[in-house]
Symmetry: C3
Subunit: 143 residues, 3 copies
Amino acid sequence: MRSKKLDARGETSFVVALDDGDEAVESLLAFARAHDVTAGRFTGLGAFSSVVLGFFDFQKKDYVRTVLDEQVEVATLVGDFAVMGDEVKLHPHIVVSKRDGRAYGGHLLEGRVHPTLEVLVTVAPDHLRRRTDPETGLPLLAI
Amino acid sequence: MRSKKLDARGETSFVVALDDGDEAVESLLAFARAHDVTAGRFTGLGAFSSVVLGFFDFQKKDYVRTVLDEQVEVATLVGDFAVMGDEVKLHPHIVVSKRDGRAYGGHLLEGRVHPTLEVLVTVAPDHLRRRTDPETGLPLLAI
Amino acid sequence: MRSKKLDARGETSFVVALDDGDEAVESLLAFARAHDVTAGRFTGLGAFSSVVLGFFDFQKKDYVRTVLDEQVEVATLVGDFAVMGDEVKLHPHIVVSKRDGRAYGGHLLEGRVHPTLEVLVTVAPDHLRRRTDPETGLPLLAI
């Protein structure tokens, strides 16, 4: 276990509202680029017209994809922003629920917003960095 | 995608503990009214003796209800506060789990607390506003 | 419903990265002890190689355990820190998802990290206290 203290006094909060048809991963990255985010965290809620969930397979060193091509509620979205090289990276995990309430989750690979996704973002004036883990190939936090 | 910066320096944090028998939606609204909340966000956890989950049906323009009339763990609760006209509105999404661990989620329409719900609230001195979306009838964020 | 205002100006944020093989509950408690945490909240995401979920049974006054002895994504982790007597206590709830995306949740009794768990912690310079509820035997918030 490793930990890093962030500059809480310098933190900034944003409400980010994604609109009908927006793709969630690209939109959150666009927000981060526009505001030069180098460290942050968020929670969110809303609904998607389709979603692709990822489960990391350590043999394949890639995500197994579960595609839900139907309207789902975004029951919770949680994640963080960090930088890798010169680029901001998003790490988003999600739980969605179907019409009958059953819940599915995983890494958010892709989500089409319908009609809204409300994301509460806290940005810190620090640099969180990721580095490729040689064993898994995953971009893990380097703190 | 639209975003609004909140006044993080003016933010206030609360721990709100709901007690046995409290209804979660009404209690959180009562908290917000008592503290004149006009913008906020929260996460929570605890347990319910019953819960009603909503899935928005765009044909009916209303929520399909899934009633779980049994004890469930509140695995996560996430949401925000905003105002619509003169009234504070709550947007809460939830994941609950049954005795065997299976998870259900959606919009929280109603939840009976048993024995506790612990909600971590951050209030900002801003005004987040909602406006009725003409197409869906839903109160979307107007930022 | 009871609530307590925390000293938001004095809040501190941490990123806590748990590593391969770490047990999540013990690691988060170790973090809290190392930083003298007496009030805090967190959200998290990552993956486990095994997890034990709890559902509180009010007849037994104990947790029913669901053991998932397989790799799962941690779709969301949410919880708080408070003190009971001289000891910091952790209240963690979780949603995990299996290879096919199906989600399970509950009280996090035990989770073996593989390869990472990223936890965003906010610490307040207050004292949140727990007290044993005589009826259920559970350590509820005393505010």
